[in-house]
Amino acid sequence: MPYSPPPWLDRLAGLLLPPASAEHTLGDLAETSPSQADYLRQLASVLPRVVWSQVRRRATIGGTVFNALLSLMALLVALGVPTGAFFAAPAPWRLVVPWACWVAGNALAAAYGHPRRPTHWSRPVFVGWVAAALASAVALDIPVLRVALGLGGSLVLILALAMPWLTAVPLGPLSTDTLADHARLFQRSIWWRNMRESVAGMVVIGANVKGLWSAADPVARAGHVLIIAGVLFIMGFLHLRANSRPVPQDQGALALLAFHQRELARQRDILRAVPYWYLLPFAPGLLVGAASKWDATGANPVGALLVVLVIFGLIWRLNAAGADWLDRKVGEVELLRR
């Protein structure tokens, strides 16, 4: 007679396991466990791997790293880095605790989302971890309102970047029936990316125009002008060369396939060329700006430039990963064509 866990244990295990894995994992545990002790031992052994697997699948490693960087920046800004009172107090590193709660909570909320909706987040898990982040801020004497402001700001940014109303549309696997939907969704995501980048570009231009008016040093002003020129070049490139294109209507499946494959390959090549059209245009303005600051304050700019280099490297790697993903999509379309 196989072991059957009592209802309370079954419910507890069902709560602990992410919904996408719960059904078959609970069945497998019941089938292979001869006793309650064995069931508990197996559950403890399986749980971390299953949770991590769902984090990797639903939150993704890249998404979690991006969230971690964005929320850290938002927290630092909200707390007034580098001159805010919090940074003058001892042990500012205690900020790591609420930040880690936030990052882990986001990843776990994604992992415990609805099994049939890949972009769905578990509300109880999310709320629980946000409460833990704020409670840790109170316990560690970190200004809790500022922490809430920073985390809220990063959440708004993440939601805007992910455009949930776009990604929440569940699409079946690529087939001749779903091809038109896939092509439309792809073009909409390109349109949204360009819109997002343009808004960010306008913010950068605004900040540099302000800097241009207030700077007295001609080298600093040249730096601002070069940054503005670089951003204008990027925005022009996005709208002229990397733009979204209307999906052809009333054409055969083969024509649609050829269009979608061409578009995927075009955007893939654009992502691969990111160092040249997206990163390089910033270089003259950043270098001139750093030289001006060095001249004015005597502060060595090497550290700041290294940080910029690391961020540029990260942007390059993320885009290279995106290009690889598009390359796989090109391959899928090729298989469908055959």
Binding site: P2, G27, S45, R49, E334
Partner: protein
């Protein structure tokens, strides 16, 4: 034709288990078959789940839930089967392992004999 996705040694074993189990490939049976194939190591069920998820993300295998069965506490089984990309990846990985085997055997002059010397049969 697109080159097969590269797979690691444990992924090779899991794909082999799914291939061998055919229509009966689900968590418990795959875990048992993987343990049998690896023989000398203890394999956790969690490691098998994580690998199955990864292989599914790589589109090397596909899965579906069966109807619930009473002997599993009324829970469903998640069945797995190889996709054509998975078959291709497994074939290429096995061929690579065969080439490694032949090379080592060529250098050592009888790997089976040296293995017997290291682990004498009682």
């Amino acid at each position: 034709m697109k080159p097969a996705a590269p797979i690691g040694p444990f992924e090779q074993v899991v794909l082999t288990a799914i291939l061998a189990l055919a229509d009966n490939a689900y968590g418990v049976t795959i875990h048992a078959e993987v343990s049998r194939l690896i023989a000398q190591k203890t394999v956790s069920l969690g490691a098998v789940y994580a690998t199955l998820d990864r292989l599914e993300d790589k589109k090397l295998i596909a899965s579906w839930l069966s109807d619930p069965t009473p002997e599993r506490g009324g829970r469903s089984k998640r069945h797995y089967r190889l996709q054509s990309a998975g078959e291709r990846a497994l074939r290429e990985s096995v061929l690579a392992s065969k080439r490694v085997w032949e090379t080592v055997e060529g250098v050592w002059g009888g790997l089976v004999e040296s293995t017997r010397r290291l682990n004498p049969v009682r």
